[in-house]
């Protein structure tokens, strides 16, 4: 009677398939595990606790230790088969008499591997969705950030020190997205490359970690700038920016380099792809510190604006509140992913929702930053509106010059637009730019 892989009640029977003479990689993996199991069984000390227990055993796929009677023991599923998910758990029950659980149908000892392949197809589908979401997110981020940078560089009237800091922040986000997309497209779907493990993919990871640090440290620089501007120097405009550049571009090299050295020395897996290591705290620790410091700075600024400056500089403090509001929204949004990362919910549906939210928070950050700092900025919107009006009147004039045979109604419309523009008072101006009042020109 040949042992089979599945029984009629869809319990997975872990006895091996009929002996194959060629040594497939799957069988080789299983033999490897078998050898390691018996070695471990040999070398581990004998069971010392009181009471009945089930003896350590090899069940054909996994190794099971001595287990007290009446207990269910579990471990991660093996990765022998493509539809086995190593993040799921396989379990084995040791009954009260000190014997391993026997399957009622076959009366053989039986381990529960049903969870290993029951959700795999759905999980695979979701993994693909998340993968494409990540790529789309970073592509959108790059696009919106480049548009914002174009706006900031084109409109010279907008430029001031705060915008200079924004430009640096946007450049770091663009570079981060570029490295992430390179990693997602070139490395992740390419197991051959991961197996070859060239130095280039480790260098890519190093720059990826460096850029991640730069993102958060430039947010910190924004917070420090606002703090110096409002709390320390009371609306003084010009500061020396050299130290901001050092903190934003220079310091993140330190945790990235330490991580690279430690990874090469202690956990040199292929392409440094594994996220299953505590060494990542080397990079995430300073980032969390930067987020916390930033958050406290911003709270302090809000406190000063609300209490001390309210009476003396009411108009200005309103202006500054609007400036701070943008940064105050962004810092928790960027930081929350680090706070909730350890708390993935256990249940299936909640876990999926959690994954989607985390992916949106992580991969659409550039888009969020560009939107909040640029597209929602009143100054920028005003500058764009003025430019648009200019183009419209210029275009209208040119058409009137070239198309003199057009109907008079069209001409009348374009003429009446000009006076409307001249009298248009941009009262929605945010004044968050250089804290100078901008009169419509």
């Amino acid at each position: 009677m040949a042992p089979s892989l599945t029984s009629t009640v869809s319990y997975t029977d872990p006895t091996l398939e009929p002996v194959v003479t060629e040594h497939s990689p799957v069988r080789q993996k299983i033999i490897d595990s078998q050898f390691k199991c018996y070695e471990r069984m040999n070398r581990d000390p004998p069971y010392r606790k009181k009471g009945l227990f089930c003896n350590r055993t090899w069940d054909g796929w996994l190794c099971w230790d001595d287990t007290p009677a009446g207990r269910v023991t579990a471990q991660n599923c093996p990765d022998y088969f493509p539809d086995f998910d190593p993040t799921e758990r396989a379990s084995k029950y040791c009954d009260e008499t000190g014997n391993w659980f026997r399957h009622p149908e076959s009366n053989r000892t039986w381990s529960n591997y049903t969870l290993c392949n029951s959700f795999t197809s759905e999980k695979l589908k979701m993994a693909f969705i998340l993968y494409y979401m990540a790529i789309v997110g970073h592509a959108l981020s790059i696009t919106s950030l480049l548009i914002s940078l174009g706006i900031f560089f084109y409109f010279k009237s907008l430029s001031c020190q705060r915008i200079t800091l924004h430009k640096n922040l946007f450049v770091s986000y663009v570079l981060n997205s570029v490295f992430t997309i390179a990693h997602l497209i070139a490395v992740v779907p390419n197991p051959g490359l991961v197996k070859r493990d060239p130095v280039s993919c480790k260098v890519l990871q190093f720059f990826h970690q460096y850029m991640l640090g730069c993102n958060y440290f430039w947010m910190l620089c924004e917070g420090i700038y606002l703090h110096t501007l409002i709390v320390v120097a009371v609306f003084a405009e010009e500061q020396r920016l050299h130290w901001y550049y050092l903190l934003g571009w220079g310091f993140p090299l330190v945790p990235a380099s330490i991580h690279a050295v430690a990874r090469a020395k202690y956990f040199n897996d292929n392409c440094w792809m594994s996220v299953d290591t505590h060494l990542l705290y080397i990079v995430h620790g300073p980032i969390t510190a930067a987020l916390l410091v930033n958050f406290f700075f911003l709270l302090n600024i809000v406190r000063v604006l609300v209490t001390k400056l309210r009476d003396t500089h009411r108009a200005e403090s309103n202006m500054y509140m609007k400036a701070v509001r943008a940064t105050l929204i962004l810092v928790p949004l960027l930081g929350i992913q680090f706070v909730i990362i350890p708390w993935r919910p256990e249940s299936r549906l909640a876990g999926e929702i959690y994954d989607y939210i985390m992916h949106i928070l992580m991969h659409y950050q550039g888009l969020l930053v560009a939107t909040i700092f640029c597209f929602f900025n009143g100054e920028v919107q005003g500058a764009l509106k003025r430019q648009w009006m200019q183009y419209k009147t210029q275009w209208g004039q040119r058409r009137r010059e070239h198309c003199s045979t057009r109907s008079t109604s069209y001409t009348a419309t374009s003429i009446t637009e000009v006076p409307v523009y001249l009298y248009h008072h941009d009262s929605t101006n945010d004044h968050s730019k250089g804290f100078h009042t901008e009169l419509p020109s």
């Binding site: 002996v19 090899w58 420090i224 003084a236 010009e238 705290y281 300073p286």
Partner: protein, 134 residues
């Protein structure tokens, strides 16, 4: 009964047929290579396959406690002086150095922030307070 059959007869058969071949092959390999997994994996795999065939022939379950005891004996006899085959997954490094390496830049961060603040403040003071924004 049946369980005795699947224990005693089974052990007899595999000792007679499977172990003899295994022993001969192992003794034929040079002694320094008997601990190298790449050399002996084929022989070990053949031994394992042989035990599966014997279990099939005797209509006994595979694996079984009898098989466990057989393989434990094999390992005690041939592989006690060997080091374990290398793990494919690198092991976790010691926690102490990791904490130190993570704490260092994390503690440097607030110091650097304070330094930046002070340098920015000095810069503003040296340029003179510009007064209110207009």
């Amino acid at each position: 009964g049946r369980s005795a059959h699947c224990r005693d007869t089974y052990l007899e058969w595999i000792s007679l047929y499977c172990w003899t071949t295994f022993h001969a092959t192992i003794m034929a390999t040079p002694e320094w290579s008997r601990c190298q997994w790449e050399q002996i994996s084929r022989t070990y795999s053949d031994l394992s396959n042989c035990t599966v065939l014997m279990a099939e022939a005797l209509s006994c379950p595979w694996p079984s406690p009898a098989l466990d005891s057989f393989f434990l004996q094999i390992h005690m006899e041939y592989f006690t002086n060997c080091t374990m085959p290398a793990n494919s997954q690198p092991s976790q490094p010691p926690l102490g150095p990791i904490l130190a390496m993570a704490a260092m830049p994390a503690c440097l961060t607030p110091l650097l922030v304070a330094l930046t603040l002070r340098k920015a403040r000095e810069g503003v003071v040296s340029l003179g307070l510009a007064g209110d924004g207009k």
